[in-house]
Subunit: 278 residues, 4 copies
């Protein structure tokens, strides 16, 4: 089996040694290994990919018996087991399309059992990919969120992706799914508040358009940042061209964040993320 | 002669035609020509580089006689005439060094008759380049600004560059030199207020570090943006490493902005700039 | 009407003046104007976008009467008139998908009357977009090219896009459609000859993966370059991951090149292109 | 003490476990740890930074006793111990200046005991930094290389940097210093052979200018690649402007490569490098 182990706990001597002892004990051959200690919170995180002849159950037992003393947040998963992703959209399709496209190519190890929307616009697109489309356009907000909560449980969802979903989720729901909701939003230098941010950016003459993928949290305006990118623009770009450029960055940054999540590369440490890129 | 003409006025029919008529009348051969109409303010800007056998004086006369009816902001300059730049610094040298380095290489068509500072730290560096160092470390703010104002006049300064100058200039002075002071500052997504911005950015786990070169204005926190750039960073970077990355972006962005100014490529239109890159 | 004029001819005094005279005569209001003189070939190129109340026919007549003396390659086109594009594919879909996606969003002013392939794999994808799929998988090369030639005429094709088309077109055909066939191919530093270039790049440990969009010519291995871009990679990327990164760059670079073509921004000057980005 | 251990050997089970056992035995606290197995050569490389109260000598003894069975290439070094670098230049100063600038800022943990040149041009620049300048302009090639070989020994040089050194070193010398000579050179897509590469790139209309830092080897035209980067250029850039852009990329890429070497981040594995960026 090809397995990925992730571990997060307070930093203390002996963790890596214990982990490698346990993997050696599984006759495991380490393929990738990354670790980091966050000095601010003294948190240790580690991601190890290894091959072993043992079953997932046996590996889990061995690792837990050796590592439990560190009180870790520990996960062992087969590389072939895909994360189950529920995508939430409104009317804009660019982020959804990129996820579907990369999934079709086999570059995104996720399954999308359903796409949910507060509008009906993207029904045909979603169904043309053989994916269930859940139309909440007639529902009031409380009923919509109740249905969403049920879906997350029934469909065994690992990750909710807000792919330009223009509806605010309640703090309660965000809290329940802490670390399991990823959002994408535009980012400018300087930042702009209020409506029509690309028009504001145009009025201000920015030379850069950006996007940020981040986890959604109940407490913060904007949760831990996962990935960011920008594109250069000039005075000649119209607001519509800035929006088009923004779409291109948004889809790329969101897809990268979802891929990193799907490959267990992201750790939330305090208000930040540790992302082990390959 | 190799000349650069810049023109800015309200947009109206016939400007380009009038300009090209005038240049043709100077037996001029156009090498570069760029123009833009800002739709928000209906402002027309144009930069034309051409070769002619006529003198600067004669070209000026001809162009003015043909173009005056558009009430333009018109400038004609020989490519070989260097802009005179006064650089203001405090203790950090990275931006100053890059300007000196590019000037040494002949890539920055500017003359730096003096560097002024509110600290003495960079005296030796400046003087080793044969440039006068004006040390204002003992002066109170009003006296310092009065001396600065005198210098700008006496040294026939075209541009004041704040190369990590950690002193605030008065609104009055900024107003007098409107469009003639360029500043560089760090930029983050999201933005941070207050002290130690790189430490805040580190605490927030940003994945991008940026810098913005802009004109200094009395009214705005941050005047028209000239250029911006970013670098990618990871969770592993310490605040000190973020600062080092920031330095690298700052010096590059500021040097590019100064070069664009030196080549008459920048126009201020409302709160924005038009920059004609080549 | 919103029109785009493009002009290419030997450089000589008075061209811009003549053009602006003619546009003024059409009561035209210039929105964009870019020009360049290539010093090597002394070729002058110009792209002007302007609004006028006159008809396309009348503008054409006026411009030709004024500009004919320069023996230009002159084109006048309405911005609303879309270029007709024939896309050629084999089995890889990433470039085709990006073109279809951008076209759906309205960001690519092209019409795709048909997609032609030497394989049947992408038939369902193409037809799901309501586009005719021409399957040449049973044809020998001569018959295939004959059919292609007929299609280009019958469908009034302005541009043939080789979107990972793994079949070599004859020099004769490339010559007939000179300047009307765009290809995308991977680019590495250093370059690699022969099969499996991404595996060679992996073996060589390159830190950058790139792609080049270029015109196809009969004489050269690789015709005039339109656009290029790269992505950074590390030692940890497998050949498959390099290929995935390559796909992402290829689709972006090809789509940008097709957009620039569709907006009349590209001029072929000798072995090079002039591309007027906005 | 703050130590960096690097290890390279054939991959086999138990290496990480043995290393972490040894570090735990040194009462070491791991700060950074990165490892990689190259699947082609089955080579394992590892870089670990840790703090310990033991002396360098004692750590060395412990690590060797535990790890010797893997027949590793093992190095233990104090972070505060700077690599000794001999810089070779000809007439171009941009790469040398960037190294000196970053060293001045404390961002490059190296010592430069001397700069050697086959020309006298950069003598004043080097000496103004208090560094010894060795002028070989009068020497024949054999004598020059003999002196260079002696210097490398006498000055205890860890790394020779060819900072635009326009003289070819003999295969013998390159072999003796295998893995200890870094060169920078321009890189284009496509590549160009022969003189005046920037002029060739200009003639070919490339849209990207790049640079590659690599180890110098006797066997290959171009040894293992350490780092690469590019900048976008347009048709409007003259050959001189391409050269200026190239200088900017060259100095950045070379400085990054030297920094990675100075921090023990680079491993040569077959024809490739593994570089552990932070």
């Amino acid at each position: 089996m090809d397995l990925i182990v992730t571990l997060q706990c307070q930093d203390q001597p002996g963790i890596v040694h214990a982990m490698t002892t346990a993997i050696l004990d599984c006759l495991g051959n380490i393929i990738e290994n990354q670790q980091f200690t966050d000095p601010t919170t003294n948190t240790f995180v580690m991601r190890t990919r290894f091959e072993t002849g043992l079953s997932l159950h046996d590996v889990n037992t061995k690792l837990n018996s050796v590592l439990n003393k560190f009180k870790p947040n520990l996960s062992v998963r087969s590389v072939s087991e895909k994360k189950r992703v529920l995508v939430l959209v409104t009317t804009e399709s660019h982020c959804l399309r990129d996820l579907l496209y990369l999934q079709d190519l086999g570059e995104l190890p996720i399954e999308i059992p359903a796409v949910l929307s507060n509008h009906g616009d993207l029904k045909a697109l979603v169904e043309s990919h053989g994916i269930k489309f859940i139309d909440q356009s007639g529902l009031v907000k409380d009923a919509a969120e109740a249905q969403l909560r049920t879906l997350v449980g029934d469909l065994k969802i690992d990750l909710v992706v807000l792919a330009r979903y223009m509806q605010i989720l309640s703090p309660g729901f965000c809290g329940e799914l802490s670390g399991k909701i990823i959002n994408i939003h535009h980012s400018f230098l300087p930042g702009f508040k209020g409506a029509k941010p690309y028009h504001q950016a145009h009025a201000r003459g920015v030379k850069i358009i950006g996007a940020t993928a981040h986890f959604v949290t109940p407490e913060l305006d904007e949760g831990p940042i996962i990935d960011q990118d920008v594109a250069h623009v000039t005075h000649a770009a119209t607001p519509e061209e800035l929006i088009a450029t923004g779409r291109d960055i948004e889809r790329r940054v969101l897809s990268r964040a979802v891929r990193d999540f799907a490959q267990d590369r992201i750790f939330i440490v305090g208000d930040k993320t540790v992302v082990f890129h390959n």
